[in-house]
């Protein structure tokens, strides 16, 4: 699902579609309950990992610097990464966009005679809509991460970048399993559901022709792919099948192996409140001649898909430091109300509101920058110090700025509405014209009894505010406060 790809002519920015999705999401009390409980838990877990504010500040600063260096030196690091991976026997492919990435992956599968794929969790694969492309080509794709498997059965997109099925409760899962695995007895017990998932997916691991995974970090120094997980499906997908294809965004490269400890700590503590994930899997080579297991062929597909363009924007390039921890999402007061699907985008929450308008253009996704009260909770928790609120605000400015169309951000200025622009001009005139402003205050206070009880959407939910009888300026004067 990529709802942001609607007819932008009739709904530039996607505001109307966004409002509809928000409306739908707010009408689902059970799902909202699920989100509330989940977010409360995740926030508490993260907080428990960071008892010392000074330590946290240091960790964020280090992670920021490492990731910023990656962006600064990105072309050199990618070349170095490619060289080392190639020396190690891992084939590297460059993909401009989703279509190219899918074509490359399909070709690799075709060459290997692969008809079935077992997948580890990968947001990039969601971004390029890989599963749909594979299925269209007649290749069976099974998601192996439990959360991804659940939403695959439900035919839904993920509602969170780390916990894709976070919007579902045990009953939802039980019903899905009952529908798709009727041979197993119905249960809502989480341990039993987990056992059932283990059982049904085991056969898929054992017999898949290829495994496809994401990458958390790609280390240029040693030509190493770093994957983190708790379940073990990532290891299974990248060890059992004879072919392993890893997909990554180009921004995930880091320079050195010893950059990993602080980044891993920042990632796992921010994402799920764990000091470390159950497994950290560092892959540097395919199966060697004397080894008895592991894929014979390992490939890395490096995807641009707008990232090099995003990097060109002086302020917004900070977006690319993201390590996909999801902490911003977990702390967002909007997300907790409406969940991930309301954003209608691959990446939800604050990072989605910053990334998607850049990736897809403002005309398609600019409205996401309005799904935010600028509360600042996201920026406060981002482990790589992306100034998310400032970037959201910048996107709002880019959306309405009239300016050159070939500026790096697609759709720049295209969401400027003449009515709103005029309103702000009037506002500026009023607030910079002392006599007019004083006149406005006088009328508003003297005629306060005429304040309408209905003031549009505000009064749908709240009583209307009314001007006071005297403005503060008048009270100040009356109380003898100096003017200068």
């Amino acid at each position: 699902m990529n709802d942001t790809r609607q007819d932008t002519g009739r709904d530039p920015g996607g505001y109307r579609a966004l409002h509809e999705r928000i409306h739908d999401a707010l009408g689902k009390p059970q799902v909202r309950d699920n989100f509330r409980r989940a977010m409360d838990g995740i926030r508490a877990h993260r907080a428990a990992q960071f008892p010392d504010p000074a330590y946290l500040a240091d960790l964020r600063a280090r992670a920021h610097a490492i990731r910023q260096h990656s962006l600064d030196a990105l072309p050199e690091l990618l070349e170095h990464l490619e060289q080392k991976l190639t020396e190690n026997g891992i084939r590297v492919h460059w993909a401009e966009d989703a279509a190219q990435a899918n074509a490359i992956i399909l070709e690799l599968l075709r060459t290997a005679g692969a008809h079935s794929v077992i997948k580890g969790k990968s947001m990039v694969s969601e971004e390029i809509e890989l599963n749909a492309a594979l299925e269209k080509a007649g290749i069976e794709v099974v998601e192996s991460d439990l959360g991804e498997y659940i939403i695959q059965l439900a035919h839904e997109p993920p509602s969170h970048i780390v916990a894709p099925a976070i919007h579902k409760n045990r009953r939802d899962v039980a019903e899905l399993f009952e529908r798709f695995h009727p041979e197993l007895p119905y249960t809502e017990d989480i341990d039993r559901l987990t056992g059932n998932a283990r059982q049904v997916l085991r056969e898929k691991f054992a017999n898949a022709d290829a495994g496809i995974s994401g990458v958390n970090f790609a280390v240029a120094e040693t030509g190493t792919l770093c994957l983190v997980e708790n379940e073990g499906n990532g290891r299974l997908s990248t060890t059992l099948p004879p072919l392993h294809i890893a997909v990554t965004g180009i921004e995930k490269v880091i320079e050195r192996l010893d950059d990993l400890p602080p980044l891993l700590e920042a990632l796992t503590k921010s994402a799920t409140g764990q000091p470390i994930t159950t497994y950290v899997n560092l892959i540097s080579r395919p199966r060697q001649d004397d080894e008895l297991d592991g894929p014979e062929a390992v490939h890395l597909v490096m995807l641009d898909n707008g990232r090099s363009r995003i990097r060109e924007h002086e302020e917004l390039a900070d977006t690319l430091r993201c390590i996909r921890c999801g902490a911003c999402i977990n702390h967002c007061p909007v997300y907790v109300q409406v969940g991930g699907h309301a954003y209608g985008s691959v990446y939800p929450g604050p990072i989605g509101s910053v990334l998607e308008p850049q990736r897809l253009g403002l005309e398609q996704a600019g409205s996401l920058a309005s799904a935010c009260s600028l509360c600042g909770a996201c920026g406060e928790v981002c482990p790589v110090e992306i100034p998310l609120p400032a970037l959201i605000n910048r996107l709002r400015a880019e959306a309405v700025q009239s300016g050159p169309e070939d500026a790096p951000l697609p759709g720049r200025g295209r969401l400027r509405r003449p009515g709103e622009a005029i309103a702000w001009r009037l506002w500026r005139w009023l607030y910079t014209s002392p006599r007019a402003y004083r006149g406005f205050l006088w009328f508003a206070t003297r005629l306060r009894a005429l304040t309408p009880a209905r003031l549009g959407p505000w009064t749908r939910y709240r009583s209307a505010p009314r001007p006071a009888a005297r403005s503060l300026s008048e009270l100040a004067r009356r109380e003898g406060f100096r003017n200068e």
């Binding site: 699920n34 600063a61 991460d145 299974l236 060890t239 010893d258 008895l292």
Partner: protein, 217 residues
């Protein structure tokens, strides 16, 4: 595809990015240089136990005895070992009620048996990391990758004197960056998931039980 590579790199080179690197020297990693052996073992154990890993301290020569005593009682009948030192020592003894299987041929030859018949596997560990309670495995021909992954129980032999305080310490002391093997694994507990209602459930895809035997001289 070379064109794609060129055009991506060209775009990247064409943009001059300099960000704030001041944080690089920030001290976040606490140096636990003062952690002695007891402290290291205690921390490792506590971290593992917090996520349902089992940890036992044994004199180095006792691990075979431990297996002989424990495995039958736990209903574990088929034990997988590699072809290295651990496997050889196991092959030299006979544990009642436990059949030893050696992982000495490519997985393709016996995949089904691995999945269906092996109850428990034993491996060594290259070293351990106390801070996060992690085993470090460098799988190789003698202890292949799937040994520690497929069977529902994984037993790891960890030498007490190979415990490092942190991952950074291990990487530096052993100079991993000089040459990385095919695969390096950090294993910090049994397999788990919280994908259903954020509730922890164990043994989803990897081993349901992780047992570390810390061997001391």
């Amino acid at each position: 595809m070379n064109e794609t590579r060129q055009s991506i790199l060209q775009r990247l080179r064409g943009t001059h990015v300099t960000g704030d690197h001041s944080g690089r020297s920030a001290r976040s990693a606490p140096s636990h240089a003062d952690w002695d052996s007891e402290r290291l073992i205690a921390r490792f154990s506590e971290r593992q136990q917090a996520v349902r890993g089992e940890v036992y301290r044994l004199p180095r020569g006792q691990w075979l005895n431990w297996l002989a005593l424990e495995l039958p009682g736990r209903g574990l009948r088929q034990l997988l070992a590699g072809s290295g030192d651990i496997g050889r020592q196991l092959a030299a003894v006979d544990i009642r009620g436990v059949q030893l299987r050696t992982y000495d041929e490519p997985i393709e030859a016996w995949k089904q048996q691995l999945f269906e018949e092996v109850d428990v596997a034993i491996t060594g560990a290259r070293c351990g990391i106390a801070e996060t309670g992690s085993l470090v495995l460098w799988p190789d021909r003698q202890e292949p990758r799937l040994t520690s992954l497929v069977p529902p129980v994984h037993i790891a032999l960890l030498s007490a004197d190979t415990l490092y305080p942190t991952l950074a310490d291990a990487m530096a002391a052993e100079n991993w960056a000089e040459r990385m093997p095919t695969n390096v694994l950090l294993i910090s507990g049994p397999s788990k998931t919280a994908d259903i209602e954020q509730t922890l459930a164990y043994g989803i895809h990897g081993p349901k039980s992780l047992i570390t035997l810390i061997l001391e001289d």
